[in-house]
Point group: C2
Chain length 330, copies 2
């Protein structure tokens, strides 16, 4: 019997697309980071992101404030991944009846903490009793500036795959906290990620940027989504991994490979995008002038194959598939 588990998250998304009937004013339906609708003179972006205790977060490791922050950051990041402007949050909160009210206040403090720098406000939601643990589902409404937005599809063969920030730190930060290592910069990356909202809007204005996603499932898997939507392949080389000194220290202490964290780590909420090769160096220079975060070429799109290659081989891991449990092997 075919089950939710055997289908997997992405198989399921393909399947439910059958149930989508289109409808007037729907410019983009399920399958990208946000749905896009035309509403009067505006182009609206809508996304939601759900997280459950013991699946997506662990109350023994994360504070209530961090749980709220991270849930809202993940949802807002989907708006950043279209180059959009987040505006309004709708928060569904489930909690056991025994949950202290002070925890709920802290959770909202976390949600506001990440939302308010973007002038994004909570406008409503639902609260339910959830006996098996906390549940947060955050819907974000936003706007496409001047009606413009970037999709997963649109990359060209030969485009460079570029990633913002320091991917890999989030996965390392979760382990660092769990194992009592003292790595505040890594923990911050995992528990207080900052969605790249301004960066996404900036990229949305550059016509040499052809496709955009955020890094929630790992750079390789998310860049693979651009490749798949664009009918291309994407090739990574380990040698291209920029050396992040914080992550290097962490990996040396553990005797692990930095590439595994950068390529497969996930939950970084950085942006990954496809940019025309001949304009890439100029774009990187302009980006570094505009923003105080790193940005690096990590791969290249090609029409000579499909899927993802790392050093010429299929990747070791496809990252995290929420239905299949732990990061699964290809």
């Amino acid at each position: 019997m075919e089950t939710m588990g055997s289908l997997g998250e992405f198989g399921f998304i393909d399947r439910i697309s059958r149930h989508i009937s289109g409808g007037d004013h729907v410019l983009v339906g399920p399958g990208d980071d946000c749905a896009v609708i035309q509403s009067g003179g505006k182009v609206l972006l809508v996304t939601c992101d759900a997280s459950l205790e013991n699946i997506h977060f662990d109350c023994a490791q994360a504070s209530a404030e961090e749980i709220g922050w991270k849930a809202a950051a993940g949802a807002i990041s989907d708006i950043a991944a279209m180059g959009g402007l987040p505006q309004h949050l709708v928060v569904t909160l489930g909690a056991p009846a025994s949950t202290p009210v002070s925890d709920l206040d802290e959770m909202y403090n976390g949600i506001r903490g990440v939302a308010s720098p973007f002038n994004t406000v909570v406008i409503g939601g639902d609260t339910i009793r959830s006996p098996h643990g906390l549940l947060l589902d955050i819907t974000v409404l936003g706007e496409a500036p001047d009606g413009k937005y970037l999709l997963r599809k649109g990359a060209h063969s030969g485009d460079m795959l570029v990633v913002t920030g320091t991917p890999g730190r989030s996965a390392a930060g979760r382990l660092a906290r769990g194992e009592g290592m003292d790595s505040p910069a890594l923990e911050e990356a995992h528990y207080h990620p900052l969605p790249r909202v301004a960066e996404g809007q900036w990229l949305n204005q550059r016509e040499e940027v052809h496709a955009l996603v955020d890094v929630s499932d790992g750079v390789v898997q998310d860049a693979g989504h651009i490749a798949c939507a664009s009918n291309l392949g994407v090739a990574f080389t380990s040698a291209s991994v920029a050396i992040d000194p914080v992550l290097v220290d962490f990996c040396i202490q553990r005797g692990e490979s930095i590439q595994d964290y950068v390529f497969y780590g996930g939950e970084d909420y950085e942006l990954a995008f496809a940019v025309a090769a001949d304009r890439c160096e100029t774009l990187l220079r302009d980006f570094r002038e505009a923003f105080d975060i790193p940005v690096h070429i990590l791969g290249e799109f090609s029409d000579t194959f499909t899927g993802t290659l790392v050093d010429g081989e299929p990747p070791q891991s496809t990252g995290w598939d929420h239905f299949k449990g732990e990061a699964s092997t290809n």
Copy 2:
């Protein structure tokens, strides 16, 4: 220690309102059936409604199609309760990995079954693994026709409290199914409720209608929300309960009081509204000409007291408070 359970759902909504900072373009924040935002030339309505297996529905009693239908109906009903036009659904679905895909297809068939008569379409969502059972959270985006909408507040002293349809059937239908009684009309009311979308829009056009809610927690409790928001009281008399022959048969078989079902039943997704007393009879006549469903006066608003009275006494039950568990006594 103050907990989610001791605060209760409505205490919690009051509390989270502290976390709401307003924000440009937010016309109505948390506390009504929908949030209302100004977006370009449009006034948008946004609501969400979450339901969990074994809290809000029971997979041993309801089919997957019915679970999807009812979850979407409850969310769409919040748009009807503002007099709005539902347009787009965002569906968060959580399920154990062992859930058969055919059940998920059926759930979407239910969602589409109730949404498509209103030209409302699924535009996106999220899917997560939920080991302790099914979870559905449905966000609805809609529009206020001509920018007009009805709130809970606004009732005047002396207004009549009017309710559409046949409230009480839903609670009876759940019991009928559970106990194997043969009452298809009652079961349909519980498992395939039809939100009163056209009726809500019609009421929204009538200036003698001052306030509107949907009946999700029971007529007495929901009318109490209008009264509370309007700084009034609302008085019911048992004698005013219109005799619904289907519900009468059910209550006779069980030796129960029909008033209890009508007043406290809940999950009817009918509309309850406050209307100017001197224009009420005309409105009822026009409503009956426009729609093929019953409509009845069940109570009256007053500024001589606050809260709710049934036959001059505080009500026996305040309906269902999701955090406190079973319908709680005042």
